[in-house]
Assembly symmetry: C4
Homo-oligomer: 224 residues x 4
C-alpha cells in the first residue's frame, strides 16, 4: 500500500508542472500514510522530470526520515507539523506559484469576488505569517491560519502558498485553483476594483460545490 501511495504522490507532482505552479525543483506534495504516523513526500532538490516512485521518501510526523534513499524535501517539517495538528488532513502541497506568491509577497489576502473562489475556498484566501524554515514556525503559521477557516489554502507571507486536503489529490487541486483565482483576481484588480461577493452567496456556492458538485457514486456527501 505504501507503494501505491509513493506512486500517487510521485504522479501528482506532474500536475504541479502541468498547471505551471512550480519552477525547477521548488514545490512538493505529501500524503499521510493512512492509519500510521507517517507521511510520503518528495525528496529535496530532485528535478520533476527525474522523479520516480522510488525517489519518494517516508518520514515520521516529526519529519525524520524513516524509509528511502534520498533526503526528504526541506519543507518536510512544515508538512509534518500540519499532519500532527490537523488530523483530518490527508495531503499537503507547497509551491511558489507566481500569482499566489505575488499576493503573499504583499501580504494581501485574495478577496472572494468570484464564484469559483466561493466554490473552492468559501471566502478569502488568507495570509499567514512570515516564518523561517528550520523550526516549527512555518507549520504553526499554516495551522493557526487555516484552523476554523474554510479555505484549504494559506499564502505564507513573502514565501508562497501551502494547501491542504483530505487527500493529496484534493490538496493539489486546491493549489491549482489557488493559482487560478490568484491570477484572475490579479488581472481583475489591475484595471479597477472588484467587490467581494455577498456572504450569503458565498455560503450558498460553497455549500453546493462541496456537497453536490462532481460524481457521487456511493451517496457520500462531498465526495470528490
Amino acid at each position: 500500500m505504501s507503494d501505491d501511495l509513493r506512486k500517487e504522490v510521485c504522479d501528482l507532482h506532474a500536475q504541479l508542472i502541468r498547471w505551471g505552479l512550480v519552477t525547477w525543483t521548488a514545490g512538493n506534495v505529501s500524503a499521510r500514510v493512512p492509519g500510521e504516523d507517517l507521511l510520503v513526500i518528495k525528496p529535496s532538490g530532485v528535478m520533476y522530470d527525474e522523479l520516480t516512485p522510488d525517489h519518494m521518501v517516508i518520514c515520521d510526523l516529526d519529519g525524520k526520515l524513516v524509509e528511502g534513499d534520498h533526503a526528504p524535501s526541506s519543507d518536510t517539517e512544515a508538512h509534518a507539523y500540519v499532519y500532527r495538528h490537523m488530523p483530518h488532513v490527508g495531503g499537503v502541497v507547497h509551491t511558489h506559484s507566481p500569482y499566489a506568491t505575488a499576493w503573499a509577497a504583499r501580504g494581501e489576502p485574495i478577496p472572494c469576488s468570484l464564484t469559483a473562489m466561493a466554490d473552492e475556498f468559501g471566502g478569502d484566501i488568507p495570509v499567514g505569517p512570515f516564518a523561517l524554515i528550520g523550526s516549527d514556525a512555518i507549520g504553526r503559521g499554516i495551522v493557526e491560519t487555516l484552523t476554523g477557516h474554510r479555505s484549504p489554502a494559506v499564502l505564507m507571507r513573502q514565501h508562497g502558498p501551502f494547501t491542504i486536503g483530505t487527500t493529496a489529490k484534493a490538496a493539489v487541486k486546491a493549489a491549482v485553483m489557488c493559482e487560478d483565482v490568484a491570477r484572475t483576481m490579479h488581472f481583475a484588480r489591475q484595471l479597477g476594483s472588484v467587490e467581494r461577493l455577498p456572504a450569503a452567496a458565498v455560503d450558498s456556492l460553497h455549500d453546493r460545490y462541496q456537497n453536490v458538485y462532481g460524481q457521487h457514486n456511493s451517496g457520500k456527501k462531498g465526495a470528490r
Copy 2:
C-alpha cells in the same frame, strides 16, 4: 448519430485545454441533439484528460439526465435554458478563462476596439447579471443579455464567460476568441486608453467576416 455527437463534444473539450481556457475541471461544452429536445454535455467534475465519449451524458432541455452513467455538469441547467429559449443555438460553452473572467469580475464590457473583435463579436462583449447556480437565473441572464445582440459571448458578472453558436464548434471558437480579445484589450488598457472602432467599420468588418471569411464550398462564393 448521438454517438458522433458525444465524440464531437468530448473532443471539443480538448480545445478548451489547448487554448488555456480552463483549469482542472472548470469548464464545459454542450451541443443540442438536432431535431430532438435533448443536449449532450460533459459530466460534472471529471478531469479533461480522462474524458471519453462514453462519459458524455444526454439531458433533456430541463437539464434532467436522460442517458449516461455520470451526473451531468453542474452548469447543465444554464445550458438547457439557453437551448429552450434560443432555438437557433446548437452549442453552448462555459469557462472561467482568466482574462475574460477578469472583465467579468469588474462587470466591465470589453470595448470593441480591434478588428478581430468586430469580426467575431460585431461590437462590445456585454456583461450579464450576477446570478447564483441552482435556478434559472444564469440561463435567463445569458438569454436576456444576448438576445438582440451580435455577440456570441456574454461575461456573467463575477463568474465567467458563456458563449453560444449554431454548432458546438462555433461556440468553442467564440470562447477561444473571447479570451483572445479579452487578453489583448487587457494589455492595451494597461498602458493607456483605447478608442472603440467607428460603428460603420464594425458593421463592415462583422458583415464581411460572417459572410465571406473561410471556405464556402458552394461555388467559392467569397473566395478570397
Copy 3:
C-alpha cells in the same frame, strides 16, 4: 519547386503556433514565388493543425487565385500589394499576436530601448494607419509605413502586426521577435519608464546583427 515552397510556407505556420502568435485561424504566412508574379499563401479559415502543403494556394500579385482547391486567406490582397510594391520582399506574415496588437490598439510605436530591438528592428517599431479589409488600404498602409524604415514590422492600428523579410522565414522571425520585444517592453513600462537607446548604439547594434550575427558560410553579407 512550387511544391517545396508550399511545404515551406505550410511548415512556417507551425512557428506562429509555437511562439504563441496566433489563435484559432487568425494569422498567415506567404512567400513570393521566385522569378514569377505569384505568391503562396494559407487558405482562409483553416485550422493550423489541419494545414497540409496541399492546402496552400497560389495567387497572382493582385491576390486572385491561380492554383489550389481552397479560398485564399482574406488577407491575400494586403500580402499581394506588398509584393507588388516592395520587390526585395520575399515573405510576408500577419498575426494578431497579443502584446504587439496591444501596442497597435493604442496606436503607440514600440520604443527602441533594448539591444534585441536594435538588432532586429534598427529603431522603433512603427504604427501604420487604421485600414479596412477589402481594398488596397491595408497593403498601402504597410508599404508607406515601412518604406525607408529599417523595421521589418509595422503595427497596423487597432488591427495587428504585419512583417516582411527577404524570405518567408525571415518574415516569420520578424513576427516572432516583434511579439517578444512588444512583451518585454510592455512589462518594462508597466512599472516605470524606459529610455530609448542612443541612436549611435542602435546603429552599431543593427549593423553588427545584420552583417555579422549567425552563420556566414558563403561569405554573403547579412546571410541569415
Copy 4:
C-alpha cells in the same frame, strides 16, 4: 570528455526553451572545459530545435574559435571574459528572458523580498552597466557587478540577464530562477509595494539553501 561536455551544453539549451527564457535563437549556454583554457558554447544563430552536440564549438578564453564547424555565439567574448576573470566559474548563461529583461530595461535591481530569492540569490539581483557588444565591455560589466556579490545573476542594462555557476547546469538554474523571481516580483509590485526581507533572514535562508538543500550523498549531511 569534450564530447560529453558538448552534449551537456547542447542539452542544457533545451532547459532555456522549456522554462520560456529564450525566443528564436537569442540565448546561450557555455561551460568551461575543466583544466584547460577553453570553453564550449552554442554556435551563433542556430535554432534550438536543430542544435546537436556536433554544433557546439570550442573557443579559447579570448573567444577565438579553436574547434568546430560553426561560428561561435556572438556573446562568446563576454562568456570568455568571465572565465578569464572568475576562476571559480564553470558555466555562463545569457538570455533575454522577458521579466528579467524588463527589470534590466528600467535599470532596476530586483529587491530581495521572497524566500526563494534569498535562497538562490542571497540578496537583490543587481543591475550591470549598459555595454555594447564587440569589446570587453559586457564581460567587464558582468565581472565588476558580480564580484563580491552573492547573486549569480546580473541584469545587464537594456539588454538582459547573464548568470554564472560552478557548472553550466548551476548557471542554467540561476537563469531559470532569475526569471521566476523577476516574474513574481513584477506581479507583486503591479498591485502594491513589497518590503525587502530583513538582512538576517536573507543570510539565514541563503546559508541554509546553499549548504543544506538538495541531496548530499556523503553521509547525508543536511538530510532534510
